[in-house]
Symmetry: C2
Amino acid sequence: MLIHSSSQLLTLAGGPQRGHALGSLGIIEKGAVLVRDEKILAVGTTDELKAAYPDEPTLDAGGCVVMPGFVDPHTHLIWAGDRANEFEMKMGGMAYLDILAAGGGIISTVKATRTASLEMLIAQTRPRILRMFAHGTTTAEAKTGYGLQTATELRLLKALLALDDESPLDLAITFLGAHAIAPEYKENPQGYVDEVSNTMLPMLKSWWETHAPRLPLPFVDVFCENKAFDLAQSRQILTKAKELGFPLKIHADEFDNLGGASLAAELGAASADHLVKTSDADILALAKSDTVAVSLPCTPFGLAECQYTPAKKIIEADAFLALATDCNPGTTWNESMQFVIALACRAMKLTPAQAIAASTINSAHAIRRADSIGSIEAGKDADILILSVPDYRQLGYRYGTNLVKQVIKRGRVYSVDMGYYRTA
Amino acid sequence: MLIHSSSQLLTLAGGPQRGHALGSLGIIEKGAVLVRDEKILAVGTTDELKAAYPDEPTLDAGGCVVMPGFVDPHTHLIWAGDRANEFEMKMGGMAYLDILAAGGGIISTVKATRTASLEMLIAQTRPRILRMFAHGTTTAEAKTGYGLQTATELRLLKALLALDDESPLDLAITFLGAHAIAPEYKENPQGYVDEVSNTMLPMLKSWWETHAPRLPLPFVDVFCENKAFDLAQSRQILTKAKELGFPLKIHADEFDNLGGASLAAELGAASADHLVKTSDADILALAKSDTVAVSLPCTPFGLAECQYTPAKKIIEADAFLALATDCNPGTTWNESMQFVIALACRAMKLTPAQAIAASTINSAHAIRRADSIGSIEAGKDADILILSVPDYRQLGYRYGTNLVKQVIKRGRVYSVDMGYYRTA
């Protein structure tokens, strides 16, 4: 199949983009992509590819932008229940501690998730995956972490594997047993750290090798913040995970600067995420490493806070910057990477081109899949979007609605309906 | 047709909501609405209405929230071209005056609009109306104002009348010839004020009586700001419009406090809109009047600015507060009232209930249609939404995607596809 456009084809070719290289879209005007089976076979101008493959069936994108599918490298998309009532209390002016006392906060989601069956977890997560895909996300990272006990964490993994199997979207799975101190260990947090390190991680490894033998090991992630895991505890868990061969991620500097980003760089983590209160030294450590700085602007937006990731400093320091939704029930329930782009432009003053690169090739690098996804290049998976707009800069400029018209995942074409039809 | 839900039916019954009354949703648990032809005939619990109308065909909303359609009382939805390049320059750090020098700003849209044919204007505006409707807006105000000369302004009116006719959504049309000083009058702004007052408005009246004899007169609106129309000029135009029998609106206090809101209250305008730099005296004047304070939070958001309408003060003062998109090509291209609600909660600390009332019954009052739309009450138009969520508080809590599942406009049912389907 030859997909061709009379507008811009954004290739994002050339690998992950460090520092000021961010925003290199590799635009081919009137570009075309040759897709065979699940892969991209050739990329060029429409004229070139039509001449080279005259008998190929075509998909005419008309005057619409063609670009790689979005890669969302940080989501907590599997949970049970919701916290809409907590949001209302918060907007009504109730203090956080009072909300906790009223049964709010992460532990309320943990309770709902622990009591949900595998089938319920899959059923409640499926529509979120559908929304992500309909908004152009062709690969998403997905974390466990609302179990905080072995049985539930494994049920979450099982559900994620099933959802990865059934969905057109690909999932990159992360084990986040260290999302919060489990309520059972409230008086003995180090006990939970030891449980994660010494019991859960080894068990996870053998479980994974039995249940998902053909997949690479999942990421292991830690929430490194005050009232969660301190730097020493984060180091203990991540070091053990590294010894066992797991690739690493970290939540750092959402509320406090504990040094988690530097730890991530030191241990060779794939990414350090949130990065709001990040110090200059941390940014320098990231810049000297291959660890991607993942900014989650929807989190402060969702919480109605004003401080965002110092994205310009990260670019200036020559680090890799990526964007993600952080979709979760507590701070930001938004599935759309298009909104992340629009917000990143405004809140962190990225250009649309920078935000697009941070949502495709760089976010692919944040889940260590930049060799197979994140750009339109020969040999990569045919994960491609056709937008309903004639210029890439409409991403960012426009917001609040879905600008994706068609999603192509591994060569299969899905139409996204933004419209309506009369039924009665 | 009997629409019934096992979840919440939000009626918003009881008329426009002043001050702290804002947020009275009039919830009926397991509610139902009886719709006959285009109107609402009865409202009650499902049990009551099923008993009273046992043979009525039903539309089962399941566990989904049922509520009135959104009324968007402030949009500039008709224009030609776009300003995506200007957005990129702005995010890249270019100063506003340099953008103007590079051909940006409102005058670039005026140029594109003046050269667009009636057919082009209709074709470019149609997809925006479709997006609005698919996101639950069943009635929208729509302003002219990118013509700034009689011929183009009349072409815009003609296009809006045609779009009103062809669309399921209803339009409430506003004449905004006084959107900016026309470029021809750059050196003689008062000359343009006189032209609008003495030539355009009388002509508009006779034109309307010929072209839309069955419709009420459109609103007349003025952009009362420095570098646009000062208070005296705004008064001149609005007073003339009032003499001719037009209902009034005003743009006030987006950038500067010139007293436009008090002028609106004095003249009995239907609404005063923007209201960011509004003084306490202006708020008091609004509170003593029937003029609705329309907040447009997407405008500062779109411009990446931090100051929003003092919504809490407006509520405290006992005025009417409404919300609108302000959808336009320069500052905020967003068609979704759902996003306005989510943003209003965060940026102005409204509760979801307050933001919903400000987007239905109060926004209906801002276009003086609260007698026929904006709530689910017997005798009103059957403009009804079925959301894909089980609790109204998910509006606000969730954002970035479309939570509307079905739109019922004057009794006709439209399904909104958020999903995708494989086509190849």
